[in-house]
Symmetry: C2
Subunit: 219 residues, 2 copies
DNA sequence: AATTGTGAACCTCTTCACAGCT
DNA sequence: AGCTGTGAAGAGGTTCACAATT
């Protein structure tokens, strides 16, 4: 929950805001200057009512009879999502997934800048990947403090994930994007999101195995 | 929807089944032979009623007064999810994300075997990554047919994603795990899941920016 | 005594439908 | 005339609470 008016915003709404943001970028690049809720809906396989309802939680951004000004709505959503500025991010784990994330354009483009990379493997510490030198996780406190980091990405094996998290909690990291395939425990004042690719592909396996009536798009 | 009894299974339930499966593996490795819904719940930050309800859609696997036999429930969930066999998978896109997925243990361990990798970049075609030679996407039909592939992973830039999907549709691929940050369109008899890491980190940004009362775990 | 399985109650999210504005 | 913004209705998912079972 969050808002000035005290209403609760669902996770689903926040996810859709991210999608609207991308759609607006796409529309603007193609010369569209206004866009209707119907058009935004079609670009994301949603209903127009859903789009309007989502936006209405945060304000009245549209013009009746006309739709939404693309650039204006984009700015508003960026502000709502907190991506109208840059975030310094720490990455823990310089394995395959971690190294791929170092060069992930979508993070950079939305202002999430990976400023420091950690590992505990002596064979990796000191290596340079995409211009960043891997640091020893033992020095995590200092680096996190120096870079004013509030968001960390965890890309370590499951068995190390909780101890890494515990250490990050001490460093006053506030939010974690967790790629380890395990449920991590954090105090109530922290935020976690899990990115578990195996769960997604298992859902496809389930669908192919069980579902008679397909559904258009999941997630 | 899916079941013999015709009931609809929610996406959320399927995702949780994947989590229970992992928890059961973990429990078994630590010597537990039975487990209660309460224990399964605690391992995943859920309620015991939720766990029992999820499982009850598929049968009565437990024993009153005792709980669930770990190995037995694990087998049942594997069967429900369709991961009691192997799936041949195609990967389209040998960029950073694609190459990381080639060596992603979680896929292999659950029986998702990447059998063929495609790219359209002449500089990548022919290269060998993790023992697989990158194929020309122009030959996709033949390779998909030869490997009996029903599930494809798309890890290409957004602008290529839909045309790749259209081609895969012609190849009778049935399910797609989409890493491209765009909503792809597929016919009603296909399944799509989107893996969009930028959306997840933006949700963290939203939380840090807006939420006063934190919530324990998202996703 | 302990724990499942499940109908009913509850709560949350989505869709409808239309008043209101441009 | 067209499209938004939103209260109300509807659909769907979660939790409660307890009978049933071991």
């Amino acid at each position: 929950m969050a808002l000035a008016n005290g209403s609760k915003i669902s996770d689903a709404t926040v996810r859709r805001l991210s999608k609207y943001y991308r759609s607006l970028k796409y529309a603007y690049d193609r010369g569209m200057r206004t866009i209707s809720s119907q058009e935004l809906a079609e670009m994301n396989n949603l209903t127009a009512a859903q789009v309007r309802k989502d936006l209405s939680f945060f304000g009245a951004f549209g013009r009746r009879g006309l739709g939404y000004y693309v650039a204006d709505l984009q700015r508003n959503i960026a502000r709502i999502l907190g991506i109208n500025k840059t975030w310094n991010v720490a990455l823990v784990g310089a394995g395959n997934i971690g190294r791929a994330l170092l060069d992930y354009d979508q993070f950079r483009q939305q202002g999430f800048l990976i400023k420091v990379v950690f590992d505990n493997d002596p064979n990796k510490i000191g290596n340079v990947y995409h211009g960043l030198e891997v640091r020893d996780f033992n020095n995590v406190e200092e680096e996190i403090r120096n870079n004013k980091i509030k968001i960390a990405i965890i890309a370590v094996p499951a068995q190390f994930a909780q101890s890494v998290v515990d250490r990050l909690i001490e460093c006053k990291v506030r939010a974690i994007l967790n790629f380890a395939p395990i449920t991590i425990q954090v105090p109530d004042n922290m935020f976690v999101r899990n990115e578990n690719m195996a769960i997604e592909i298992e859902a496809l396996s389930f669908a192919l195995t069980n579902r008679k009536e397909p559904q258009r798009t999941m997630s």
